[in-house]
C-alpha cells in the first residue's frame, strides 16, 4: 500500500487526496495507464518507436557492433544529460555545461603537461576546477536570485574565453599538447576511455559508466532525502525552505554535480583523443538540455526522472547515428534530426496525455 504510494512520486499525476481505500478514481485506473502517466514511460515508448523505425529503415542497425556505436554516441551525451536533468528537476539549468566539459579537459591536459606530472595530477585538479565552476554557478544563482539563464550564460561566455585565452597563454597554441606518452595515461584511459569485448562486439566503457550513473541518480532521486529535496526546491523553493529543506545547499550541490559530469566527459575526451582544441564544446549544452527535456524533465522544474534522460540521450544518439546508418541524403541531416526529435517528443506528450486523461 505504501509502496504504490511511493512508486509514483506526486510529480506529474495529480495527487489523490483523501483516504486511499475510498478513492474510487485511483482504483479504477488500470495499471497500464498509471504506468503510462510516468514521464519516463512516454519517452521510453518514443525511444522504442525511433529504434524500431531505424531497425526497419537501416539494416546495419540490426548488428550488435552498430548498437554499441549508437550507445557510445548516446553515452557521452547521456552522462551529462543526467546531472543536467537533476538540476532541471531542481528548478535551474546550466548553459555553461558544454564548454565546461572542454574546460575540464584542457585543465587536466595542460596541468600535467606543463608540470611534467603524472596525468592523475591533472585529472584531480580538473575535478576540483569543475566542481569549483559548479559551485560558483550555484552560489551566484542562490545568492543573487538572478535567473540561472543569466548567470550561466555569463559563465558560458567566460569559460569560452578562458578556454581559448588560457590555452594560448600556456601552450602557445590553441590546442593542448599530446599527453599520450605521459605516466598514468594508460591507467586513466582504462578508466575513462577504454573498451571491452562482449561476444565479439567492442563496447565502450562510457556506456557502463552512463548506466551506473543513471542507476545511482535514480536511487538518489527516489529513495533518499536528498532526492526529495531536489523535487522540493524545483517545485516550490519557498515552501521547501519553510519545511526545512536546505535550498542553497541543494541547488549549489546540483550545479557541482553538473561540474562532476563535465569533468567525467571531459576526461573521456582527453583520454580518448589525446589532445583537445580549445574551441570545442560550444552548442553541446543545448543537446544535453534537449536530452533532459525529451526525457520528461520540465523546463519549469519540479518534475522529471533520472531514467527519462537516459532514453532521451539514447533517442538523440539513435537518430543522429541512425540517419547515417540509413544512408539518407546528408544535406537534410539536421532537418531529419529535428523532425525525428520533435516526433519523438510528440509521441511522448501524446502518451502522457492519453494516460492521464480519465
Amino acid at each position: 500500500m505504501s509502496m504504490t504510494q511511493h512508486a509514483g512520486p506526486a510529480v506529474t499525476s495529480p495527487p489523490a487526496p483523501g483516504p486511499k481505500e475510498t478513492d474510487g478514481r485511483t482504483s479504477e485506473r488500470p495499471l497500464a495507464l498509471r504506468l503510462l502517466a510516468r514521464p519516463e514511460v512516454g519517452v521510453f515508448l518514443g525511444a522504442a518507436a525511433v529504434y524500431v523505425f531505424f531497425l526497419i529503415a537501416a539494416p546495419p542497425v540490426r548488428d550488435g557492433a552498430s548498437m554499441a556505436n549508437i550507445l557510445y554516441g548516446s553515452s557521452t551525451i547521456g552522462i551529462m544529460a543526467l546531472p543536467v536533468a537533476l538540476l532541471m528537476i531542481g528548478g535551474e539549468f546550466d548553459l555553461s555545461a558544454g564548454v565546461a566539459v572542454i574546460t575540464s579537459a584542457l585543465t587536466a591536459s595542460m596541468l600535467s603537461y606543463q608540470l611534467t606530472a603524472n596525468v592523475w595530477v591533472g585529472v584531480i585538479a580538473a575535478l576540483l576546477v569543475s566542481l569549483g565552476i559548479g559551485f560558483l554557478n550555484g552560489w551566484l544563482v542562490v545568492k543573487t536570485g538572478l535567473p540561472s539563464f543569466l548567470v550561466t550564460l555569463g559563465s558560458f561566455l567566460i569559460l569560452q574565453g578562458v578556454n581559448l585565452a588560457v590555452t594560448k597563454l600556456v601552450t602557445g597554441n590553441v590546442a593542448t599538447d599530446d599527453i599520450s606518452d605521459m605516466s598514468g595515461f594508460g591507467q586513466a584511459k582504462k578508466v575513462f576511455a577504454s573498451s571491452f569485448d562482449v561476444g565479439g562486439v567492442q563496447v565502450k566503457i562510457t556506456i557502463v559508466w552512463w548506466l551506473v550513473f543513471a542507476a545511482v541518480a535514480t536511487w538518489v532521486l527516489l529513495r533518499t532525502r536528498y532526492g526529495n529535496w531536489i523535487f522540493a526546491v524545483g517545485g516550490n523553493k519557498d515552501s521547501a525552505r519553510a519545511v526545512g529543506v536546505p535550498v542553497a545547499f541543494t541547488k549549489i550541490s546540483l550545479y557541482m554535480l553538473v561540474g562532476f559530469g563535465a569533468w567525467f566527459v571531459g576526461m573521456h575526451q582527453l583520454f580518448s583523443f589525446n589532445t583537445v582544441q580549445s574551441g570545442e564544446g560550444v552548442g553541446q549544452e543545448l543537446i544535453y538540455i534537449s536530452a533532459a527535456v525529451i526525457g520528461g524533465c520540465l523546463l519549469t522544474g519540479g518534475a522529471g526522472s533520472a531514467i527519462g534522460p537516459v532514453f532521451g540521450a539514447f533517442m538523440f544518439g539513435m537518430v543522429q547515428q541512425g540517419i547515417v546508418y540509413a544512408g539518407w541524403n546528408p544535406d537534410w541531416f539536421k532537418s531529419f534530426l529535428g523532425v525525428m526529435l520533435l516526433g519523438a517528443v510528440l509521441i511522448n506528450l501524446w502518451v502522457q496525455r492519453t494516460a492521464t486523461r480519465r
Binding site: 595530477v121 580518448s272 544518439g317
Partner: protein, 334 residues
Amino acid sequence: MHRNHRAATLTATLLAGALCAAGCSSSSGGKKSEDDGAAASAGKATTPRMTVAMVTHASPGDTFWDLVRKGAQAAAAKDNIKLVYSSDPSAGNQANLVQNAIDQKVDGIALTAAKPDALKDVIDKAKSAGIPVVGFNSGVSDWNKLGLLEYFGQDENIAGQAFGARLNELGAKHALCVIQEQGQVALEARCAGLRKGFSGKTDTLYVNGTDMPSVKATITAKLRQDSSIDQVVTLGAPIALTAVQSLSDAGSKAKIATFDLNKELVKAVQSRTVEFAVDQQPYLQGYLAVDSLWLYKNNGNFSGGGTAPVLTGPAFITKENVDQVAKFAANGTR
C-alpha cells in the same frame, strides 16, 4: 551538520590526494621533453612603424587558424608592423570588424572572403579611404571582382581535384568526404573538387565538429553502413585523427587522407596511420598577406601582379617528405 562534516572530509581527502599526486611526476613526455626550437626569424625592418588589420572568418580555438595568426605575427614582427587581429565566423560581424579597422585608419587590411558578397561594400569603403586590402585563404574565385590587391591561398576546388587525382593513383575506389561544418563554402568546395578529380565514387558525410565523440561515432556509423568505402577524406587535421579511431571501431580497412595539418597529424603521417595530408600552408598565408602589405607600402610591389592569385597549396605531405615538415610542426608553425 552531519552532512557538512562529511563534505569537509571529502574535500580534505581530495586536496590531500591532489597534493600527494603532485609529488608523482611523469617519467615521459610533458613539457620537459618539449624541444625549445626557436621559431623562424628574419631580422627586423627599420621602416616606419605601420598598422595592419587582419580580419578572418575563423571560429576561435581552431588549430588551423592559430597557424595563420602565427604566420601573420612573424611577418609583423619582422616588418615593424603593429598587427591587429580579429575574427568572427558570421559574415555580417566580419564586415563590421573590417569597418572597425577602417575607423582605426590602419595602413592595410588583410581579410578572408569566405562570404564575398557580405564584404563587398566594406571593401569598397576601405579602398576609398585609401587603405590597400589583400585577400587570403578564402575567396579565390571572387578576389578580383572584389577589387582586392592580391590574393594568397589555395584554390579549394583545385586542391580537391588534386586530392582526387592522388587517390586515383593510390587506387581508391569509394571515398567518403567528411564535412565538419555543414554549409561552409570552402569545405563544400573541397568535396566538390574531390568529386570532380576522383574517378571513383564519392559520398559526403556531415559531422558535428565541436563534439569529437559524436564525430567518432558518426564516421563509425557511416563506415558500417557502407563497407565498400575504402578511403576516408577529412577536411581538418583533428577530424582525421578522430577518424583513425572510427576505422578501428568499425573494423574497416579503409585508408585516411586529409586536408590541413597540425603537429599531431604529422606524427600520424610518420606512423602511416594517415596516408597523406594536403597542406595549404596557413602559416605562409598569414605571413605573405601581412608581408605583402609592407612591400606594397614601402616598395609598391604586389604579388601576382594584381591579376593572378598566389597559391600556397596544395602541398602534399606524404611519408616521403613528412620528416622535413615534422620539426616545423613541432614548433607549431606548420
